[in-house]
Every structure is written in C-alpha cells, then in structure tokens.
C-alpha cells in the first residue's frame, strides 16, 4: 500500500486547523521550495555558462604559418615571358631568363612543386598542369642539386583519380619525385595575419612545410566564378576543409592566398589557354593556342600579364588589386621590365 499524501489538513484526520493559517503555511512552504529550485538553476547556469562558446579545439601550438619560400629579388628578373609552341623548351628558356634554375634551387634542398591537379581530367583538356611541364621542372630541380622533389596538390575531385588521369602522377614519379596525396593527418590549421577569411583554417601543410622551396605550376584558364584561374588561384589547392564556402567571396580568398603563400617561383602555362567553360572545360574547343609561358617570382605580376591572354584587364579581376594593396605583388608588370623571348619550332 502506498501512502496517499493529502495536503488538506482537514482530510488527515487531525484537528482541523484554521483554514487561512494552514493555506498560508502551505503556500509559503511551496514558494520557498520553488524559489530555492529557481535559484539553484540560476546558479548552476551561471557556473556552467561558457562566454566564449564552443571552440574548434585547436591548440595555439597547432597553428602553423607557411614558411617564406621566396628568393631575393633581382632587378629585371622578376618575370619572363616566352613564346613558343613547346612548353618544355619554353620553361627552360623562361627560367634561364630569370637567372637559371640555380638561382632558385640550392644543392641539398627539398623542393615542393604544387601543380594544379584539381580535376580528374585528361591533359588534352587543359584543366590541369601539363605532365610534360611538371616532369621538366622536376628534372630541372634535380639538375640543380635538389635532395628531394615533392609533387603535391589537394584536388577538387578524388586525388588518386586526379593524379592518375591527368598524367601528373606518372610524370612526377618517373622523374623521381615523391607524389604526396592529401590525408587528414597532413593538414594543419593556419591563420593569415590580417586575413579576413583564412582564420584557423586547415591547409595541406606537411608536404609543403617540410620543403625549402616552393614552385607553382598551373595552366591559364577561364573561371566561371573568379574570371580567371592562374597562379594565385592555384594556391586554392592548399586549402582543406569545406573550402567551397570561399567561393562566396572569391576575390578576397584569392588575394589572401597570394598573401599567405610566398613562392620561390610560379610557372603559368598558356601554351593552350582555356578561354571558355572554365575551370573544368570539357572540350578541346574550349582551348585556344596562345604559345606563351610565363615564369615569375611574383604571382600577382604573372597573373596581371596572364589575364591579357583571356582578353581581360587587371581591373576586370578585383583580386589582383586586392593582392597588390595587401603587398603581395605588383600588377604593373611592365614596370618590372619583363624578360621576353621567342622560341621557334625548330630551335633547341
């Protein structure tokens, strides 16, 4: 039998108390209990309240900054523009005009090459760095005495498919480079000083962070969102996480990438230019033969010249001005006195 609790004193069998006094006692008792309960909740909430809110769980020591891979500037040797149909010959000439590969790579150094391998697309479509060009740059680095050459990218599509179908994986491996595909543990978080978007953001750090020098290689392409995809946009491939959110502010993120990455050298391949339907393309008819290759120590400068091959002005691509304003490079490439050369078909 469970005891039936009855709070009406008249029903307990005892002497009936004056109704008003009993009700008041009962009321005060309940009010006190309710007050204590409310106060307890308030104290508990105060003690448990976290004014900072949830954090990503990243320790300060886990935040990294990409090293500065740049080499000392030399007057008149910031950008070279070579015209010719053969990209292998063109890249040799372009680097030679900037002082030769030895200016950029010292004996015993580790070199990271970041080609644009964003898509699982055949080389013919020009959506990715051409394997012949990657192979030649790998060869030049070893020729200069590099201890190790790493070829790496964090593609949009499945990484293994991208490196296989683009031909870049095979070309790099055959040249003796280590191909590093993205894995979770190879990413670390970074924050760009003065950056608006790159804050506590994962980047593909490990293969680049352990290198002494960094070279970017990318084809020149139309880009539906950004207007053009060139050497600055190539660094998008170092970002991890849900990086597509940055497409909402594409000009800022490209400018911030130029601020974040200070490369040794960038190579912008415009042997064929994807003039429509970029950045993926999908047909050889999206390409126009421009027979041009640009090498530069300044990605802003390289892209400022490169956009002219898409019939764009520097002012058509707001990220160029943003990057220049942030001190990432120079849009007035003419002021840097580009080194020019033309390679005829038969010339070696």
């Amino acid at each position: 039998m469970t005891e039936q609790r009855n709070y009406d004193p008249r029903l307990r069998g005892g002497k009936p108390a004056p109704a008003a006094a009993g009700d008041r006692r009962e009321f005060l008792s309940r009010l006190s209990k309710a007050g204590i309960a409310v106060a307890g909740c308030g104290v508990a909430s105060y003690l448990l309240y976290d004014p900072k809110g949830p954090t990503p769980g990243i320790k300060a020591e886990d935040i990294v900054t990409l090293p500065d891979f740049s080499v000392p500037q030399k007057d008149g040797q910031t950008i070279s523009i070579v015209q010719g149909p053969d990209r292998v010959k063109a890249v040799n000439k372009a680097i030679e005009l900037l002082g030769g590969i030895e200016r950029f790579i010292n004996k015993g150094e580790t070199v990271a090459i970041k080609p644009n391998v964003a898509f699982a697309s055949p080389p013919m479509l020009g959506a990715t760095a051409h394997p012949e060009l990657v192979a030649e740059v790998v060869r030049l680095c070893y020729k200069a005495g590099a201890k190790q050459v790493i070829v790496t990218d964090n593609p949009i599509n499945d990484p293994a498919s991208c490196f296989t179908l683009s031909g870049v994986g095979k070309a790099a491996s055959q040249g003796g480079a280590e191909v590093v595909l993205p894995k979770d543990y190879l990413f670390k978080h970074t924050t760009l000083a003065g950056g608006k978007l790159i804050k506590n953001w994962p980047i593909f750090y490990e293969p680049v962070g352990r290198a002494d020098k960094l070279i970017g290689i990318t084809p020149l392409k139309h880009h539906h969102r950004a207007g053009a995809s060139m050497s600055m946009k190539n660094w998008y491939g170092l970002l991890g996480g849900r990086r597509n959110v940055f497409h909402q502010d594409i000009n800022t993120i490209i400018a911030e990438l130029a601020m974040m990455v200070k490369p040794t050298l960038v190579i912008l391949d415009a042997t064929f230019v994807m003039v429509t339907n970029g950045p993926t393309g999908g047909s050889v008819s999206d390409l126009k033969r421009a027979n041009t290759l640009i090498a530069s120590t300044d990605c802003v400068t390289a892209d400022s010249y490169g956009c002219s091959l898409l019939n764009l002005k520097v002012s058509d691509l707001p990220y160029l001005a943003k990057a220049e304003k942030a001190g990432a490079g120079t849009t007035d490439y003419q002021s840097l006195k580009p080194k020019l050369a033309v390679i005829q078909q038969s010339q070696r």
Binding site: I156, H224, S229, H247, G282
Partner: protein, 343 residues
C-alpha cells in the same frame, strides 16, 4: 465529515487524472523531440555532411532509384571507376567554380561514370548526367556552355559534338560525354552510349520550349539560341531571357526575348532595363513610340521594346540598319496571331 472525505477523494482522483494527462503529454513531447532530432536536416545547422559516408546498403538503395550508368557502357569498354553522385551540397567537389552556373539553374543531381577501352588504358571517357529538373533548365545550361563552331547533331533537338566530346539535352537531363582523346575508337563508342541513353533513360522528349519558336528563322544562326535564367547582359532584372544570333554576310546581330508573367510586369522590366542602360553610360536616342527605346551604348545600338508580356530587342548591334531589320522581323513574329484550336 463523510461528505468532506468523499469530496476529498473526488478531488484527489481529479488531480491524479490531470497529472496522468500531463505526464502523457510530456512523454509525447519527449518522444517527438527524440524522433525529430534523429532526422533533422544537418545542413541547416551548419554541420559538415560531406564527411558523412553512406553505408553500402544506403548507397545501394539510392542507386536503385537512379539511372544505371554502368549499363550504358559501350562494347569493348569497362568501367574505369565507381559511379559518382553529387547533389547541390557537394557539386563543387566535381566541377568547382562551374557549380554556381548549375545551382542557379535548378540543378538537382549529377551522376558520372567513366568507361575505359579494353584495348588501351589511355582511351577513356566520362559520362556526366545532370538532372536539371526541367527541359528548360537543361537547355539553359546546355546553351550557355555551348561551344562555338561545333557540329550540331540533327538527330536530336539540342545536341552538338566536338572532336572529343558530345553534349546534349535529354528531357530534364543535360548530358556530357567527354573523351580523353580524339581517337576514332572513342568516337564510335560515344555513339553507342548516346543510343543506349536514348533508348533506356526515361525522358520527356516532347517537352517544348515555346519561346524558341518566336525567333524568326530567316538568317538565324542554327544552334545560336541561348537561355539565361538569371541576369542577362549583366542586368539582374532581366531573367528567363532567350537570345538568338542572326548573320548577315560577316555581321552578327543578337536579338533577345523574355516573356514575363503579365503585361504590367513586362512594362516594369522594360523600364528598368532601359534605365539600367542609361545609368551605365548609354545615351537615349529620340523616338516617338513610348514602348520602344533606342540607346547608343558606347558606339553600339541597344533596342529595348515591350509588347504584351514580351520584353525584347537587340543587344550591342554595330550596324543600326541590320538591327532595325531584325527588330522588325521580331515584332512581326510576336504580333502574328496565335493558332487557336478549332471548335
């Protein structure tokens, strides 16, 4: 005393009944919260769904409802990789910066499949099947991306090919077949894939896009019609706009046409677009007709007109005489009496 106890018991019973009801309600609320929280839309709460992998069983269930791309493979080819499925959340993982074009055009889903030749690993093709919800949307992404100087395929309503690819609309689907090379083997194989798609993939092949019939056919460049669902000519207010190109010797004239929901809406768009041109450096040329504007736009002629629910005109014409000629043809076509069914 007895009646007081009886009343007390009745009161206690009533309180018990109310308490039980409240407990049942609380239990039902708790159950509702439990069920709902097990099945809420993660994307609305900013949680990364990309990393959540479907179980093989779930994936199998999804695929049962999708076109079976593997069966579309040509003879002498095998699948090169697993079929891939993309939705609006992760489309960018496949096509990156081109994703907004599709997302703004009603994109539902993309399925892809690669096939490789049994004879040569370097010969492969990738089939892209974009579900765009409607033929109109599919035509939009097809037409906006259509390459110049390509060969139209007369056997299909909207189709063309390049030396390495084939692109067409099949009902609500926009389909691309992209080859790794220009080899004859791939060209033959892609023909087989198209035949299989036509015969096995359900599609409303009879779906018509009415506005396309409103462009006069004389001097029309075949396959030049495009549909911009948003922001034609850089003006946000000009939506659902078709353009067509007319060729006269070496000169091209671009006509445009947009059917609005009502005459009043058409007048509003007409006025706003005219103002947009003038605000951006255009100079209005004299005319007595309030339903047509002639604007000198940095040396080219813009004509904007309104008739009934249609906003139409000529865009960036270099030759005013030819522009007027096409405009007149377009007006005549729009004013033609429409056929009505016989009683």
């Amino acid at each position: 005393m007895g009646s007081a106890r009886r009343r007390g018991r009745q009161k206690a019973a009533l309180e018990s009944a109310i308490s039980i009801c409240l407990l049942v309600i609380l239990f039902l609320i708790g159950l509702g919260v439990f069920v709902k929280q097990s099945d809420y839309d993660m994307s609305r709460f900013g949680i990364d769904t990309a990393g959540i992998e479907l179980s093989s069983q779930q994936l199998g269930l999804i695929r049962e409802k999708k076109p079976d791309l593997v069966s579309l493979g040509p003879d002498g080819f095998t699948t090169l990789s697993e079929a891939e499925i993309y939705n609006p959340e992760n489309l960018y993982e496949k096509i990156n910066g081109k994703a907004p074009l599709y997302l703004e055009s009603g994109f539902v889903e993309l399925l892809t499949q690669r096939f490789v030749s049994n004879n040569d690993d370097n010969l492969w093709m990738e089939l892209f099947v974009y579900d765009m919800a409607t033929t109109r949307n599919a035509f939009s992404v097809y037409s906006v991306q259509k390459r110049a100087d390509t060969e139209l395929l007369p056997s299909m309503q909207f189709a063309y090919k390049t030396s390495n690819g084939l692109y067409f609309v099949h009902g609500k689907y926009y389909i691309e077949l992209v080859g790794s090379s220009e080899s004859a083997e791939l060209l033959g194989a892609r023909g087989q894939v198209v035949d299989k798609i036509s015969s096995t993939l359900p599609a409303d092949k009879e779906a018509k896009i009415d506005e396309l019939t409103l462009f006069p056919e004389e001097d029309l460049v075949p396959g030049s019609t495009k549909l911009y669902l948003t922001s034609a000519f850089g003006f946000e207010g000009l939506t659902d706009t078709f353009i067509a190109r007319y060729k006269f010797a070496d000169e091209i004239v671009t006509a445009f046409l947009s059917k609005k929901g009502s005459d009043a809406e058409a007048i509003t768009v007409f006025e706003n677009y005219s103002k947009f041109l003038l605000d951006n450096g255009g100079k209005e040329l004299p005319t007595t007709n309030p339903k047509i504007k002639f604007v000198d736009f940095y040396g080219t002629l813009e004509i904007v007109a309104v008739a009934g629910p249609f906003v139409f005109g000529i865009h960036e014409a270099e030759n005013p005489q030819l522009a007027a000629k096409v405009q007149k043809r377009l007006i005549n076509r729009l004013l033609e009496p429409t056929e009505t069914p016989e009683k």
